[in-house]
Structures are given as structure tokens and as C-alpha cells.
């Protein structure tokens, strides 16, 4: 079976320093399975951050539109620059980043923790440990083997009890009809949401699954560009879109995507797989976006041993938006 993941994850942190010494930070995660490469993102960031010297960071729309054209397909680099501009602009104004994004609609959100793909017994042990830490939402990674996946969900449900919220992420591993059969059998275990049951480019398959099952069906790998989100919403192929700011090209694009979803009556969730810098940035988006309607995976930074960013912690399974200027976290390098 092909798997992704592993023990290390490369990322870049962009620092933009103003004439007065204020610093804006942006995060670029490297997702090879989404087309990123370490060298490609590095070259893009070094080339284009250099062009920002002398620019006014409040001109986010102008700068981002320019970079969106020349960095087409390089969403990780676009995101880091876009976020650093927002952070610096907010710090110059002395306000939290959410104030630039429409203000607060919520101050906190429950955190979904991801249960990495393993033998069922190990996934159960990880779930129990996280429940003891106060988490009450989980995303169970599946591998497309119906028998094994049903066993994973059944054993985790039996171990954590009925009060815990369970979701699953198939990472494109199912054919539509098998996804429907499997999700119907998972109904007895109270699975509330399934992320990306079928291949990313099989939008008709996604729509077929969405119409056939009780749980919410969500697009992630299908929804890595705002143009794709527009298409998915137009055909109402899913109930929900998972937005990852690092992968979509920044906060500006995430807000456009959320507006598209709102018009189409499709829910939004958000996730972060990187440093606290990425999670805190995403939390400002979540805090200022009204159609985020479910828990979000914003606690995965806790799995890293050497995150260089501090100032964000989950308490009792819930994350609160930082209230300091900008993103509100600190870089310690």
C-alpha cells in the first residue's frame, strides 16, 4: 500500500520586516503529493520576497494578485507571502489578524485530532491517549480496505465511547460504490463526516457518494484551488470543503473560497498540518468566517518535537484565537 507521511516535514517561514522593525510571518509547508518541491518553493520564495522590499504591506490585494499570476501553481509560496503581508499589516495597525478579516464570529473551535494510519490496535491506543488529554473529536485515517477500515472505526468507537465525535478520511482510496457501502456500514458507529472518499478528480463520484450516505461528505484533495472549489460548489458535489490556507494560496484565497461556499450553501472546515504558525493563522480565518460549521484539525502541531513557534495551545480539546497583534504567536529562531 502506498502511504504518505513520515517522521519529518520540511517547511519555510517567511519573515517580512518593516522600516520600524515590526515582523510579519508566513508559513509554507512542502506537500510533495500536491505538487510542491523543496527546491521549487525555496526558489519561488527567495525570488519573490525580494521584490517586496519598498512595498507597503497594506497593499495585499495588489501584491497578491501580481504574485498569483507569476507564481501560478505554487500555492505554498503564495500562501506564505500572503500570510506574512496580513501579519505585518495587522501588527502595524496594532490589531489581531482576524480584525482584518471581518472580525470575530467565534473565539474558539473544537480541535479534531488525526489518528494516523496504523494497525487498528495502535490507532485505538492513540485515540484513548488523546481522549485522556481532553480531545473529543477525531479523524480516523482509512486505507480503502473495507474490512480493515470497518474494524478501525468499530474498535475506536468501542474504546472511546458514544460521547466522542468520529470522522474518517479515506484520502481518495475508495471507489464510489464501495465508499457508499462502507459509509453506510459505518453509520452504526456514528461517523459524522467522511473526507475525500474517492479520487480527487472524480467529482461525479464524490457527488454520487454525497447523495447516497447520511454522514457529511467533504472534499480536500479535490479542492486545492479556488477554481476547483467553485466547480464543486456549483455541482453541489459535497456537503463541505476542507480549506488549508497553506495549500490554497493564502488567507485572501481562503476567504474567497468561503464566500463561494456560502453562496452555494456548502459548509467550510479548515485544517493545518504544520507548525503553530500555520495553525494560528488558520484559527484567525476560522474565527472570522461564519460558515465554518464543525470542529477543525488545528492541533497537529502538537505532534512535532521542534516547532520553532510558540504562543498557541489547545486546552480541553478547544483552541482559542490569539488576541495579540497580527497572528499573535512568536518565532523562536
Amino acid at each position: 500500500m502506498g502511504t504518505g507521511g513520515g517522521g519529518q516535514k520540511h517547511c519555510f517561514i517567511v519573515k517580512l520586516t518593516s522600516e520600524s522593525g515590526l515582523v510579519g510571518l508566513g508559513y509554507a509547508g512542502i506537500s510533495a503529493h500536491h505538487g510542491d518541491s523543496l527546491g521549487g518553493v525555496k526558489a519561488a520564495l527567495e525570488t519573490y520576497t525580494g521584490l517586496l522590499i519598498g512595498e507597503d504591506p497594506s497593499n495585499i490585494e495588489k501584491i497578491s494578485e501580481t504574485f498569483s499570476g507569476v507564481l501560478h501553481g505554487n500555492e505554498a509560496a503564495q500562501a506564505a507571502i500572503d500570510v506574512a503581508l496580513h501579519d505585518l499589516h495587522a501588527k502595524i495597525l496594532g490589531v489581531p489578524m482576524y480584525a482584518l478579516l471581518g472580525g470575530l464570529v467565534r473565539e474558539e473551535i473544537p480541535v479534531i485530532r488525526i489518528l494516523s494510519l496504523k494497525e487498528p490496535a495502535k490507532m485505538v491506543a492513540n485515540a484513548v491517549k488523546l481522549v485522556e488529554q481532553g480531545y473529543f473529536y477525531f479523524k480516523i485515517k482509512l486505507n480503502g480496505n473495507q474490512a480493515q477500515d470497518l474494524q478501525r472505526v468499530k474498535e475506536i468507537r468501542n474504546a472511546v465511547g458514544e460521547a466522542i465525535h468520529l470522522t474518517v478520511d479515506a484520502n481518495q482510496t475508495y471507489l464510489p460504490k464501495v465508499a457508499i457501502a462502507t459509509l453506510k456500514r459505518m453509520e452504526e458507529y456514528g461517523v459524522e463526516l467522511c473526507e475525500q472518499p474517492v479520487r480527487a478528480d472524480d467529482w461525479e463520484g464524490l457527488a454520487t457518494v454525497t447523495r447516497a450516505v447520511d454522514c457529511l461528505v467533504e472534499a480536500h484533495e479535490s479542492a486545492l484551488r479556488i477554481e476547483h472549489i467553485y466547480g464543486l460548489v456549483k455541482m453541489r458535489a459535497v456537503d463541505c470543503i476542507n480549506i488549508k490556507i497553506d495549500q490554497l494560496g493564502g488567507i485572501r484565497k481562503a476567504k474567497i473560497a468561503a464566500a463561494i461556499c456560502k453562496l452555494g450553501n456548502v459548509s467550510v472546515r479548515a485544517g493545518s498540518m504544520g507548525s503553530r504558525l500555520s495553525a494560528a493563522t488558520t484559527m484567525h480565518f476560522v474565527a472570522s468566517t461564519s460558515n465554518v460549521s464543525y470542529a477543525c484539525e488545528l492541533g497537529e502541531y502538537a505532534g512535532f518535537l521542534n516547532d520553532p513557534v510558540s504562543g498557541l495551545e489547545v486546552e480541553k480539546g478547544v483552541l482559542r484565537v490569539p488576541k495579540g497583534p497580527g497572528i499573535g504567536v512568536s518565532l523562536n529562531v
Binding site: 513520515g6 517547511c11 522600516e19 507597503d56 482510496t173
Partner: protein
């Protein structure tokens, strides 16, 4: 207020769980139907 300086920092984040995995569905499809 203008941008005076830029910097790009590479960082390798290390996971506590060295075997943190997810399925690459688009690469290797092993979907099977279970009879039970």
C-alpha cells in the same frame, strides 16, 4: 510604512511519531469489498 527586509528560513519539523502515515489513494488503490 514599507517593507525593509525579507528572509526565508528552512525548517525541518520532526514528528514524535516517526511512523505517522496516511494512505495515498490516488497512487495505490487497493480497495476491496469485504464479505463480512
Amino acid at each position: 510604512m514599507k517593507i525593509a527586509q525579507t528572509e526565508v528560513i528552512l525548517k525541518e519539523l520532526v514528528r514524535e511519531d516517526a511512523d505517522w502515515r496516511w494512505a495515498r489513494g490516488a497512487v495505490a488503490r487497493n480497495t476491496v469489498l469485504s464479505s463480512n
